[in-house]
Amino acid sequence: MTGLGVEIKGVVKKYGTLKAVDDVSLRVSPGELFGIIGPDGAGKSTLFRMIATLLLPDSGKITIGDRDVVGDYRDVRSVLGYMPGKFSLYQDLTVRENLDFYASVFGTTVGENYHFISDIYRMLKPFEKRLARHLSGGMKQKLALCCSLIHRPQVLLLDEPTTGVDPVSRYEFWEILKRLSADGMTIIVSTPYMDEAYKCSRMAMMIGGKVIKEGTPDDIIAGYNGKLWKVSGREVYGMLLAVKAYCGVVSCDSFGDSLHVVVRDDIEGLRSYLREKGYDDVTVEATKPTVEDCFIELVRDGCSDR
């Protein structure tokens, strides 16, 4: 199976005076697993709805393959699988009834395409007769995924599919997506979780309606400008406050059980400052930035530019 490419050119969407999506241009190649990463309110869902033909862009153009999402929206809808951010199945139907219903909505049957979703549906099989409202968060999302896959779409749009899902289910979910993309399906997925960026072949970072960075996860990390230090010690929270109070610090964020710190000039200054403050068991070492660090840097630079 070959997926279709998605091309987004200069798309703007305004709600009143608010620009929910502000001049976004992206190109997603066929078969890519493309991530759109950004906090809540970054404009991800609005962008997804425009790709899904549900909202009309105020300006700009989106094409899927060679079909325009505005002019050829009927054609687009037949090649598209869309899973909205909100759980969008019928709570009062059972797992199987939901699947059967969506299969017939898309003019197919579960039997016809079962092999296509069998990997995922196997996990749901024991709960076939359960009402959708009684499923766990992870199960719901898997069911929703099954429903959006049942007609073998060429392009799959997933709006925050892992939000509110436990880590194990999230892991499983991404493994499924990787397999689908390896089979040639084009997948665009949004997420607020930075750590999921590594699962994507390419990604775009969105904030305030704009794409502030685009590339492979490695590209993005390579684009990190500063020098990042990992500060760890016993009392992390106290240290966080202390480091933030230090005048030479550019940014300091907690990262698991340690701190990621960027300093203006010499790191020795921070070392001796912490020793003065009584944190003598502190280790300070250079560390590789993560996608999250890149995001923080980009947001910080964006703020200082304004």
């Binding site: 009309l56 809808r77 909100k86 969008s88 059967d100 898309f106």
Partner: protein, 366 residues
Amino acid sequence: MKRMLSFVKKEFLLILRDKRTMLILLGLPVVMILIFGFAISDDVRNVDVAYYAHRENILIVKVMERIGANETFNLVGRCGSLREAEDALLSGEADIVVCFDDEFGAQQPIQGKTASVEILADASDPNTASTGVAILKNVMSRYYMEHTGNESLINPHTRLLYNPAMESTYNFVPGLMGLILMLVCAMMTSIAIVREKETGTMEVLLVSPTKAWMILLAKMVPYFVVSCFNLATILLLSVYVLGVPLSGSLAALISVSALYIMLALSIGLFISTVMKTQVTAMLISVITLMLPTMLLSGMIYPCENLPLPLYYFSMIVPARWYIVVVKKLMIEGLPFIAVAKETLVILAMFVVMLALGVKKFNDRLE
């Protein structure tokens, strides 16, 4: 076709599993028929009557006995004084007090002096008061005539010429059919469609090759079936419990009712295309459907009594036409040809509403 069937099946499953909605859909008509049929009618019953007489005599006792025997009145007793009579009215112990003067039924009437009776009524409920008083006068004058053979001095009120209890039930049934079918179809359909918008399932349905009209039609079919079921319930209750006659053609009545149901469904469809949340859909349904249907359709007040602007407005209230049809077909027993005009109006409204709804239905989110 297969797609359509699975849509309809899904819709039925959702209705059946939503117990509360089911209860409203099927229980509401029964409850309303019973409430309107029995409780809310403009005939007067259980009027408490007390009397006051300074000196009691056999005639007064006989008159009061006769009053107490009437099914409209409950005799509550004698008041010792005018003061007590007033207290009884104020406290609600009595709705009407009959005051006899000393000349009434006296053994030796004083020459040249006429006996007089004063009737005090609590008019805070004007309907009970006026109707009660009228019936009371009637009872008394009839007794007086039988007793003396003389022409009554009290003129019976014309209001007593018809029996309000029977009439009101007859009048309410057609109106109620118009109201219930309109509410169940229009409100429930609009809420059902808007609910899909709210829960987000509409988003997925829209991003599918399914045509908009199919989504809409599939929504209407189950509610049409439920409404036909309701129609049967209402007709059975009306005929066998309330005793409303079914004097015309049942087939004609059912056909026009089915048309009216389709009109209501298309109105619900139209509302759902405009509204975004279930709450607003509900409110708009009540404001634009329930109130006009109750007040401007001839259900409670005759349309002819409306001020002119409202009279013209009542022309676009679907129930107004439907109620006429039901009255003519069911109660007056006229042939179908007598309601051809009304049927055409309903048909025209249906076509217009359906066209508007389908045109307005957005297959995008904005």
